[in-house]
Amino acid sequence: MLFNSVSYLVFLPFVTIILFLVPGKFQWLWILASSTVFYYMLLPQYLVVFFALIPLNYYLGLRIGNAGMNKQKVFNIALVINLVVLALFKYSGILDSLFDSILSHPRSDTFWRIILPIGLSYFIFTILSYLIELKRGTIPPEKHIGIFAAYLMFFPKILQGPIERPGKIIQQFRGDKHFDYDRIVEGLKIMLWGYFKKLVVADRLAIYVNAVYGNADQHNGSTLSVATFFYAFQIYADFSGYTDIAIGSAKIMGFELTNNFKRPYFSTSIKEFWNRWHISFSSWLRDYLFLPLAYYFSGKMKDEKYLGIETEKWIFLFSSLITFAICGIWHGEGMNFLVWGLLFGFYLSYSNWTAGISKNLRKIFHISKKSAYYTAYKIILTFLLVCIAFVFFRANDLDDAFIILRKIVLSRGEIFIGEWQQFIFGICGIIILIAAEAIQEFSKVTLPYKSRFWLKEQFVYLSLLFLIIFIGVFDGGQFIYFKF
């Protein structure tokens, strides 16, 4: 079941009403049952994978929690099992090609071709964060297998996150969820904003972006620049829209999920961008990959400097490049994803290495770090760097990405508009999105929007609702991040 389907608009109220009627100690059972139905309606054949991993990790979790001296060994086994399962599904394309080359001809049957079950990545990342926290001793093992299963399968987050840390959410499955009018209204408002982002902005821009990127060889650099600019907003609106719907749905039922986005296009540096973009994933990478790597390198590199450069900078470089290379590979098996990841690793390292030079230059030219012009310059620069990286993310492969970048730099011409209405509605969507985010960024307004004036607040939400009905795309497809 997709969030942007009519079925979901029937499913969510039904599940919520029954949840409030079920006694508190059995609510986990209802959540687990409804989450199973939610996934069953999307990809029934893959439920078995999820339900095989749940008892296995439940058992391994208990073992880690009680293993004493053997903790590391059990943890390593658990880690390998989960990563192998993920890799098996995630890189099945490579396995398929390998089988085809062994058989020396492509197999015509699709039965044995493995596809990545939607949400498996997020499911396994959630499991890994549970196991890591257990190993670190920050949480006790969950003894109730039903609650453990409900925590992993919880339908608002199963398909595309947020990747919830166990300490924050598992306890929420024990509490008694009851009807709370204000909380439900707040959840609905967050969902409405999410639907606006998905239906009005993301799916509208997708029409233009797909038309251009689908035939990149036939378009000039000007058109490809516009498509890349649109794509930056498409993927943001798509992903953050999904998160808002997930957070709003969970809130209606009485759960608090982590916010995944904090207006990333207002970042003044790439570092800040990653602190605002896909937060649950980037903090996962930081805590479970980057910091352990940095710790490992600092143990190995004992000298103060290497090649005349401080060791800290080398450690930052190696840790960032490895972390983002893995981040890239996680997104897909194509080389373009690896380059996308490495590019961000490079951006971060470059900024880290040249921080001193930037500071000196600002001093020489008397530029205040807090100046509005400087902030605007940094926001635009960061956005452009992100857009360049997105070319690798959106292109079909690495060759395509380089061709597109070359065209963007060298070839100019008339901008392809396509269906002019789509173009205008797309731009309108971007303007509304930027304006709403700018208000939140530079004032004290928070999401969901509240006003002292009841009528004004209702007008804003009614306008959002009617904009969705008016110019939303109801034929749009699934969310971009499902494939990851």
């Binding site: 009519v6 079925s7 009617f466």
Partner: protein, 309 residues
């Protein structure tokens, strides 16, 4: 507390209903008042035309058949119902609406669609949404769009989703200046510069049974109406080898004994890029030649029939 909740829900419900009704009805009024543009042409085709010769199809139909050439020679009035980006679903819906009102004498079905089960074709049904309420004969076609279409259509605004700018332009008559049409025909004037390429080899695919059924229904309905029906594959600036679309189409037409004229490999066009605006569309010069060729073929069929009699 409960009282407050019920009052709030009631207020929101009433406001949403009233606004949806008022805005939707206003949009409906202005949509059907359009005097130019694609929406206007759809309305005209479904509700007003009484032309003896009708052309059906997607963008090639809309840009390839010049009314004047047919009207002048056959002494019958002509309307081109071709619409950019539309497939068999739209064409069948228009035919059903037309046949409800009158029986045309000649139907030219310019086939350039696909029988592949693709989302795009079903999304294209959006253009029929404004007619759902007033045209019961097309409802089952519109409902192919999704199983929840009936529910969505409870909203008065929904049928006019994303149509606001079109409605404004259609009412301001700006379309007449931007892209004027002559009885549904929209002329193109640019010339295609690139060289001819071969089409990618076709992979066999399972045909969408709904599309095949609709195509067959179109042919049968047109035939049963007593009109002469011709199926045409318009010229295209690309070299084809095998085309599954044509195979399915040919089989159905052969079964129903409907003539099929394939211009995709006609060298008059394949050797002359200057007759095209782009790969799939003839420009005005090309459309003149093509319309005359079709006219000649139609006359020849008539002569053969007369001589047989």
């Amino acid at each position: 507390m409960i009282k407050k909740i019920i009052i709030n829900i009631a207020i929101v419900g009433v406001v949403v209903f009233v606004l949806d009704f008022a805005i939707g009805r206003t949009l409906r009024y202005f949509y059907f008042k359009e005097s130019s543009g694609q929406g206007y042409r759809s309305t005209f085709a479904m509700e007003k035309t009484e032309a003896a010769i009708l052309v059906f199809g997607s963008s090639p139909a809309a840009h390839h058949y010049i009314p004047e050439i047919f009207e002048h020679s056959l002494k019958m009035n002509f309307y081109n119902t071709g619409k950019d980006g539309e497939g068999t679903f739209y064409q069948l819906a228009v035919l059903r609406s037309v046949l409800k009102r009158y029986k045309p004498k000649i139907i030219i079905f310019d086939w350039s669609g696909t029988f592949l089960k693709d989302k795009f074709s079903y999304d294209g049904l959006s253009s029929l949404l404004p007619y759902y309420r007033t045209h019961p004969e097309i409802r089952d076609i519109v409902e192919f769009k999704s199983k929840f279409e009936k529910v969505k259509l409870l909203s008065e605004i929904y049928p006019f989703n994303s149509e606001l700018l079109t409605i404004i332009l259609g009412n301001l008559n700006l379309n007449k200046k931007r892209m004027p049409d002559d009885k549904g025909y929209v002329a193109l004037y640019k010339e295609w510069q690139a060289k001819i390429h071969s089409a990618l080899p076709y992979n066999k695919y399972p045909a969408d049974p709904i599309k095949v059924k609709c195509f067959r229904e179109f042919i049968i309905r047109a035939k049963e109406s007593g009109a002469k029906i011709f199926v045409v594959y318009s010229p295209i600036f690309r070299i084809y080898t095998v085309n599954q679309e044509f195979e399915i189409c040919n089989n159905i037409c052969a079964m129903e004994k409907v003539p099929v004229w394939n211009f995709t490999s006609d060298t008059t066009f394949l050797k002359n890029n200057h007759l095209f605006q782009d790969i799939a569309h003839l420009n005005y010069k090309g459309a003149v030649i093509f319309s005359k060729l079709i006219l000649e073929k139609m006359k020849r069929v008539d002569q053969v029939k007369t001589s047989r009699l």
